[in-house]
Amino acid sequence: MTNTKSNSSITRQGALASVRPGVYESGQWVAESASGAVDITIAITQNLNLQQITFWQESAAVLNQQLQTHLGLSIPEPLKTQHAHGATLLRLEPFKCWLVGGSKTADALSSLLSLDIEAASVLDLSHARTHISISGQPAADLLNRHLAIDLREKSFLAHSVASTVFDHVGTTLYRSENKNGAPHYELLLPRTFALSLWEQLLTSASASRTTITHQ
């Protein structure tokens, strides 16, 4: 049976759709113009495209070829990500990867689907996770209020990924290339916990000046 394809023409209502965009500081929403300085930027992704790709030891080579051909990606090493054309491939389990974002993944996925189910299978998880990206100098400190991953510069470089617990809830964190010279992290929260975790994150962020946007 087919997976539900992400279709941009349908309005999706994510778990954080009701979160107000703006600038948040000292526990209050403030005018954006008050001061130019912003410590942390949190962007909530509205129409997440998240496809799980599963494979087996014997089919890794085939899958790799397909990924190379259609997406310019290959299966990442453990704890690593690969990024091309706006899509990021995360290696989460020995035989499971997640493909996050990207608009041109449809072809690749249909090609993967055409592989025998023994070789690889694709599962749509676009609605199962809530994606937010967090950038800024204090971002690592903010994340470390909630998760126990060593985010020191030397330990968690760009293109690293870790599945861990965020206030006891299983969560995936990965790091992209720096944004405006500051570290840039991305979080995938389980959708049904997302609002609860968001409330916690925002409380911790209130010590910094935080800009919240929907993307």
């Binding site: 999706r12 499971k96 299978s121 609605h127 199962a128 206030d167 609860s196 916690q200």
Partner: protein, 1029 residues
């Protein structure tokens, strides 16, 4: 009472005066003061009343070991009792209060208890009040009376009072990682941090004080301190002040408490009060220093008595001279530098040294500075009521005339020296005491390192400086090193040990062969050895002398405990409460142990010491809770329809971490009205229910069918594509694990639903089977619980209503969608076709469809479904109505599948396949599980139909209403369709065994018994005609 602030000296900022309030009286302090320093500078020396005897107490130290000056900071909800004034940083508007006194600490009516002090020895209350009066009343009455007395006693004794209001402060947690954690910023800690950082390691240095330097802060010369701090900062050592390492745990984990805003007069609202850090360190260096201790002598708790080092600290850090006329009582060399500093600052100093011989050099130096020396003498008694004004000197009793043989005498007495007061009195306004130094071995002890007694240095020391297998080193005075050059060398050595460990880890991974490192630092010690001295025991004129000031434990209490048989240190501790107050015996423990050893006639090392446990200093419960308070006590799991449900009047109930609609109350309805209406509407018309919380698992792979066939007790091998099947899973031991439906989507793809409660468990179980038992099976399992929102539409009108919403109404025709069929279709919502997955399955017993919608579309689809349901006269229904309908049908939930029942017990035995083997198929045939009289699922009716009965009641035969009965009731509801209250539960042998008989539903706790009849669990529509076509 002539402590005073000097015009110069110290590292306080005299240009920033600060007003603070002591018992609501305003006083002036300077930036950089502690509360204790500010109180001393303002001649406030009587600052507390003791725990039991309400004796006046003053400031006894200058640090965390303080056991006299316990005060309450702030008032109302923000009041923090039992704060040590010696560590409290001063800030503008600080309010501090004396505690355990009425009306105030300077005049306390409770002091009368001191007169009866001789009665209040250890164990006094228990011995006196338990079991009286009169004894003949027996244990039961005696205990009650004790409990009555206890309330009075507790009121009279005590420390500060905690606020009973909710904590208005916020706290948070933080994780951090470092190569090296250094605890303590004294000379050794700073050196260790610098050494490690110079070698490229990432170092985190923590200091409990609000100034760096540790013991260096007591030095008049600040250059060395400043130089080391600058160097550490330039090497990018991460440095945290006001941060206590309260616990060291396994695998390099440390707990830190950072006091974030307690020193601020107006902290920003969002700033937490404290922050708990959980640090993961590659290597840990404990440079926690040592603490000066006193010794026991008569009235050694008088205000004006403090440790010698504290006086030096107040002088050199705060510019406060603790007295004009100072007597120092000692048994070691460390006080001489203090004496000189005080003398130079303008005080007249006398030293009373227990040692007859202190060496020529010290003797000469003291004379040069004009310090009066009383060698071979001890202070036997401190005189004065509210403040010390005179000391009485004492000499060893046996041979007070012969000072030369004193050392032999002490060895024999183990530092407990019987003395006589021979008449010499020294007037003074301050008495400084040094009975030696105790290394702060607490953190090492927490890691399982047992300190050993070093009789030469008269202290417990760690057995070694380096523990490569624990990735831990001890640096500086914690090793019993008193010389600053030794401490520097020790710090450097510890830093290099951390570097070596990092290099080994990099070279060999984590399984390194730990190279044994032996410390080369010998420890120069003092010129003249310390003379052990723990207690000056005045013969014939006994005086009250204290060992543990916070808990008012005296020397006599320790001996009493020993006489009464509490010979182990752990028993001593619990009987006398020695070392159990907020200071955890930092000053008193060694003295108490020495007294215990002497009383038992053993050396101290045979008595041993108690094990120190976290936290090193008190830590607020709020800090441990962090942000997980109130509504964030645990994470809340919301379905995508959460707000939608709330907007339509749903009252929520907890289901694990989920909030689920319990019922949708209409105007004026109670919960019973609401659920009865909802159930009735579903049975007669149609209803809509959010069932998102069910677990959902995607199963994909060529062996998916085989996997299901092994996991489920019923057959799955021949489930057609496009069909769902109800399945029951057993555990290895043959007991039911979970139930749910599994839908076959294609040849190799399935969609499984589980109960809400077991969603995570079933997922982990499938992974366990695939990875640990059957790794030849090619199956991937993935949780899709969050991907799909689930809605059940149930009732006679459900098909018609659903058809109105579908793009293609024919998709749910009886032909295309018969009972248990699965279809993929679309629902028209917001002029879009929204994909959804529908199965015609029923929990309510009505014709029903479970619709799964991608979560982000759930609200749009629900709007459409609800509009159609509402138009048809239907309703939204919650968990309570769902419960009613499933009880009517005898469908089981987690309440029935409680981990004790077999598939037969649950009435599902016919489903179990006899043609295949599956998990649990062997052990479900254990003889005990096959017995005919096992409790089986039954329906329950009240004999008098108007009556009700309770969930949880036991089922008993009328002639034997006691004990465990012969069954139990798992759920009860009022059934509109049956016409009265009904229940389900288990009874021995099942309903057939009790046909025509009456049992009692016994609620033994509430003593309410109702006669009931056992019926088939299928109490409504037993043949399922309503859910089929």
């Amino acid at each position: 009472m002539s402590a005073k602030r000097l015009h110069s000296g110290g590292i306080i900022n005299r240009s920033v005066p600060i007003t603070f309030y002591w018992d609501d009286m305003p006083f002036t302090a300077y930036e950089g003061d502690t509360l204790a320093a500010a109180l001393l500078a303002n001649q406030q020396t009587l600052v507390a009343r003791s725990f039991k005897y309400h004796r006046p107490r003053g400031i006894m130290s200058a640090g965390v070991e303080e056991s006299g000056a316990l005060v309450t900071i702030g008032s109302g909800a923000k009041a923090t009792p039992n704060t040590t004034a010696t560590t409290q940083e001063i800030f503008e508007g600080l309010h501090a209060y004396g505690q355990n006194a009425y009306p105030h600490v300077r005049f306390d009516v409770g002091e009368v208890s001191n007169l009866f002090g001789r009665f209040f020895a250890a164990g006094f209350y228990y011995k006196t009040f338990m079991g009286i009066p009169p004894l003949e009343w027996g244990a039961q009455w005696g205990t009650k009376i004790w409990m009555w007395y206890e309330k009075l006693i507790r009121r009279a004794a005590g420390m500060g009072e905690a606020s009973r209001l909710p904590d208005p402060d916020s706290y948070e947690h933080q994780h951090a990682f470092c190569d090296v954690l250094v605890v303590g910023s004294g000379i050794a800690g700073l050196t260790a941090a610098i050494t490690a950082a110079e070698n490229g390691l990432d170092v985190l240095l923590v200091e409990q004080d609000f100034e760096w330097g540790g013991a260096l802060l007591s030095h008049a010369d600040i250059s060395q301190r400043v130089e080391l701090i600058n160097k550490a900062e330039s090497l990018r050592v991460r440095m945290m002040k006001r941060t206590t390492a309260f616990g060291l745990y396994e695998n390099g984990c440390a707990g830190l408490l950072e006091r974030v805003s307690e020193h601020l007069s107006q902290p920003p609202a969002t700033m937490p009060r404290q922050r708990v850090w959980q640090v993961q360190a590659g290597y840990t260096i404990v440079a926690s220093g040592s603490l000066e201790r006193g010794f026991a002598f008569g009235n050694n708790d008088r205000p004006g008595v403090m440790t010698a080092n504290a006086a030096q600290h107040y002088l050199n850090r705060f510019g406060v001279l603790v007295g004009q006329n100072i007597v120092i009582a000692t048994n070691n060399d460390s006080v001489y530098a203090t004496a000189i500093a005080l003398q130079q600052a303008g005080a007249a100093v006398s030293i009373v040294d227990a040692r007859a011989d202190i060496g020529l050099e010290l003797h000469q130096t003291a004379s040069d500075y004009g310090i009066a020396l009383y060698l071979g003498n001890m202070v036997g008694n401190a005189c004065g009521r509210a403040h010390v004004n005179e000391v009485e000197l004492a000499m060893p009793y046996a041979n007070s005339a012969n000072a030369a043989s004193e050392s032999d005498n002490e060895q024999k007495t183990n530092g407990i020296v019987p003395c006589s007061l021979y008449g010499t009195r020294l007037p003074c306004d301050s008495l400084l005491v040094s009975g030696g130094w105790s290394p702060v071995v607490h953190l090492l002890s927490q890691r399982g390192i047992k300190p050993v007694w070093d009789s030469a240095r008269a202290c417990f020391v760690p057995p070694a400086a380096h523990y490569p297998e624990l990735k831990l080193s001890a640096a500086g005075a914690v090793n019993g090193l008193w010389d600053s050059d030794d401490c520097i060398q020790s710090g450097r050595e510890a830093g290099l040990a951390a570097v070596l460990a990092a290099q080994q880890a990099a070279a060999n991974g984590s399984n390194i062969a730990h190279a044994k490192i032996k410390s080369k630092v010998a420890g120069r010690g003092w010129q003249t050895p310390i003379a052990p001295l723990y207690e000056v025991q005045i013969v014939k004129r006994p005086k009250k002398s204290f060992v543990d000031f916070q808990h008012d434990v005296t020397s006599d209490d320790v001996r009493l405990a020993q006489r009464e048989g509490f010979v182990s240190v752990e028993h001593l501790k619990r009987y006398t409460t020695l070392g159990m107050a907020t200071d955890q015996g930092k000053m008193g423990n060694v003295v108490g142990l020495a007294q215990m050893a002497a009383a038992a006639g053993k050396p101290i090392d045979e008595v041993g010491t108690t094990t120190f446990r976290p936290p090193y200093t008190p830590i607020s419960i709020g800090a441990l809770a962090g942000r997980q308070v109130g509504s964030h006590f645990r994470p809340l799991r919301r379905t995508p329809l959460h707000s939608w449900n709330e907007a339509r009047g749903a009252v929520m109930t907890m289901a694990g971490l989920w909030h689920r609609p319990w019922y949708y109350a209409r105007e004026g309805e109670s919960i019973s009205d609401a659920y009865r209406r909802e159930a009735k509407t579903v049975r007669e018309c149609v209803g809509l229910c959010d069932v998102t919380s069910l677990g959902k698992i995607a199963i994909v792979g060529v062996d998916a069918t085989e996997l299901l066939n092994r996991l489920y007790a019923n057959a799955f091998a021949k489930l057609p594509i496009g069909k769902a099947r109800y399945g029951v899973m057993l555990r290895d031991d043959g007991i039911v694990m979970d139930d749910g439906t599994t839908w076959r989507l294609s040849e190799h793809e399935y969609f499984m639903t589980t109960t809400t409660a077991n969603a995570a468990k079933v997922m982990a179980w499938m992974e366990e089977c695939l990875q640990t038992r059957w790794n030849e099976l090619r199956v991937h399992v993935s949780s899709v619980s969050d991907q799909w929102a689930g809605v059940a539409i149930a009732g006679p009108q459900s098909q018609k209503v659903l058809q109105q919403c579908l793009t293609n109404a024919a998709d749910v025709d009886n032909e295309r969608c018969p009972f248990m069929a699965v279809i993929n279709t679309t629902i028209n919502a917001a002029s879009q076709k929204i994909p959804c997955r529908i199965a015609r399955i029923s929990f309510s017993g009505e014709r029903a469809y479970e619709i799964y919608i991608p979560s982000d579309f759930a609200v749009a689809v629900m709007d459409v479904l609800w509009a159609a349901v509402e138009a048809a006269g239907g309703c939204l229904y919650g968990l309570e109505a769902l419960g009613t309908m499933r009880i009517e049908k005898g469908h089981v939930t987690a309440a029935e599948l409680d981990g004790r029942v077999t598939i037969e017990d649950a009435g599902l035995g016919k489903m179990a396949s006899v043609k295949k083997s599956y998990i649990g198929s062997a052990l479900k045939n254990r003889p005990e599980l096959l017995k005919e009289d096992r409790p089986r699922l039954v329906g329950i009716f009240p004999k008098q139909r108007a009556q009700t009965f309770r969930t949880g009641a036991l089922l008993c035969t009328p002639d034997n209403v006691k004990g465990q009965g012969i069954g139990w009731i798992t759920a009860v509801t009022h059934s509109e369709v049956v016409g009265h209250w009904i229940g389900i539960g288990y009874v021995a042998g099942g309903h057939e065994a009790w046909a025509g008989k009456t049992l009692v539903a016994a609620d033994l706790l509430r003593n309410s018994h109702v006669e009931v009849e056992m019926v088939s669990p299928h109490m409504f529509d037993p043949f399922g005609e309503r859910m089929h076509d």
